[in-house]
């Protein structure tokens, strides 16, 4: 079941919304950080479209996951890359799919180990139901409805496409 979501046009809209969001809240120099891996793919495009000067931050939340004792170290851990000082910055945190909210909680914990940002806004390409934590996005590409047991996964980076899979 592929409803052919046009990722490119979603990202165009998101870039505009981020611009408005930052203007409304008077963020002068937002700092963009993507969550590996899908979030970094989306963030790379947004970062380019918005013309941000600071290098894109990449966050790997493997060390901050709350399911470590169940599943162990994630096999694809790659180091986080945050070269810019994040103290007092307005962080734009980007991920591909917002589901339970646990990834975002872990990402925020990790960000605070790098410094104390002035604010964090959340940008999500695909929002779906199933939240287990009180977390919501500020900018959303598209909200989709999934049936029980269905999962959304972004494949990429070139081209990006959304896969809906039935699991378990």
């Amino acid at each position: 079941m592929n409803k052919e979501i046009n990722i490119e046009s979603l990202i165009d809209n998101m870039a505009n919304e981020i611009r408005t969001h930052c203007e409304d809240l008077k963020y002068k120099k937002p700092l963009m950080i993507g969550i590996q891996r899908g979030g970094v793919w989306v963030a790379t495009r947004l970062h380019h479209k918005l013309g941000y000067k600071d290098p894109l931050g990449e966050l790997n939340i493997a060390f901050y996951r709350d399911d470590f004792s169940k599943i162990g170290v994630h096999p694809e851990v790659k180091p986080s890359k945050l070269s810019t000082n994040i103290d007092d910055r307005d962080v734009i945190l980007v991920d591909d799919v917002l589901h339970t909210g646990r990834t975002i909680r872990a990402a925020m914990n990790e960000i605070f180990d790098f410094g104390r940002p002035a604010s964090i806004s959340l940008v999500i390409l695909i929002e779906r139901s199933g939240r287990e934590l009180p977390i919501q996005a500020d900018v959303i590409g598209k909200t989709i409805t999934l049936k029980q047991g269905e999962h959304a996964k972004l494949s990429g980076p070139e081209p990006m496409a959304l896969e809906i899979k039935k699991t378990g």
Binding site: E76, P79, D113
Partner: protein, 326 residues
């Protein structure tokens, strides 16, 4: 991989880390890959990740050690675990408590991991076979058998400088007979597919059957060092020497001490390693130990990252034993 390997659980994940022997290449590569990520934690403003928060780790050192014990301690702390340092030689065992009672006492304190250093070969394996199901054991050196975390940090250091093991000639120099570091390194280099592993040392300090491990034995330094990419120096283990295996330290240095002059025989981009502590002027000249080819202090930093990787892998188990990437 064998099904009855005590180091692996039923699904092939690392449960104990006792010896390099018995582990396959994908698993060693996974450890090295994970260590790469953990290495960055030490460079952050907050040098800590919450991975092992709430876990209790006991450092069981039946034999004195500073470097290994402190890097295990630092690794545990950077993973947010709580760590107990138990210097067993001065503890209950000297009051007559038998080992299994010591272990069960620590189990009753709800420890999750034992890091074991012991003078007897096989001690860590024995302890792993005795402990409760939920406890993981890491070998921090057992007699003349193995020192697997040292070998992994050595492999990590080599990989940082040399990338591809298949092209490398590596010389291990000195007191191989008493060295668990040498044994673990030979196994690790074999598993990772190093082109050639050489052993250099006097007849009295080279085990008789060492060639069975696929190494080439040399008794002359200049010849053994010819065109090598990596030199691993071993510490002359004076405290383990029984009987007259050596002439004098001075004479040893004359024949097997690593000097800049001897190092000329190796490749121009050779790296020099040493597990520490160094006996300056005995197995290695200060000019080499502090020189441009030396990566000895990097080994120490890498030791923390490797131990973080191994500790988190045995506590959580990886979701794939083979570290397959997609």
């Amino acid at each position: 991989m064998t099904g009855n390997n005590i180091q692996l659980d039923k699904s092939g994940n690392l449960k104990h880390f006792l010896s390099i022997e018995g582990l396959d290449q994908p698993l060693l590569q996974t450890i090295l890959d994970h260590a790469e990520s953990f290495a960055t934690v030490g460079e952050r403003p907050v040098k800590k990740v919450p991975l092992l928060r709430g876990k209790t780790i006991a450092n069981l050192f039946f034999e004195p050690s500073t470097r290994t014990r402190t890097t295990f301690e630092l690794a545990a702390k950077r993973l947010s675990a709580d760590i107990l340092n138990l210097n067993i030689s001065t503890m209950a065992t000297s009051k007559g408590e038998i080992l299994s009672d010591t272990l069960h006492t620590l189990e009753a304190m709800h420890c999750d991991m034992f890091v074991v250093r012991h003078a007897n070969s096989g001690a860590a394996h024995y302890i792993a076979s005795q402990v409760a199901q939920h406890i993981s054991v890491i070998n921090a050196g057992d007699g003349r058998h193995e020192h697997p975390t040292q070998a992994m940090l050595d492999m990590f250091t080599i990989r940082q400088h040399k990338k591809d093991f298949k092209k490398l000639s590596v010389a291990i120099v000195g007191d191989v007979l008493h060295s668990r570091v040498a044994r673990s390194n030979i196994h690790a280099l074999n598993v990772l597919g190093a082109n050639q592993v050489r052993i250099i040392g006097p007849h009295t300090l080279i085990p008789k059957d060492i060639e069975k491990l696929g190494v080439h034995v040399y008794h002359e330094m200049d010849k053994g060092l010819e065109n090598v990419d990596v030199v691993i120096m071993l510490r002359l283990q004076r405290e383990r020497m029984k009987g007259a295996l050596l002439p004098t330290e001075n004479e040893y240095f004359q024949r097997y001490g690593l000097t800049n002059e001897r190092l000329e025989n190796a490749k121009s981009d050779v790296i020099v390693m040493h597990p520490g502590p160094i006996n300056r002027g005995v197995e290695i000249d200060s000019d080499v130990a502090d020189g441009e080819h030396s990566v000895i202090l990097q080994q120490v930093s890498h030791g923390i990252a490797i131990r973080m990787a191994i500790m988190s892998m045995v506590m959580g188990g990886t979701s794939e034993s083979g570290g397959i990437k997609n």
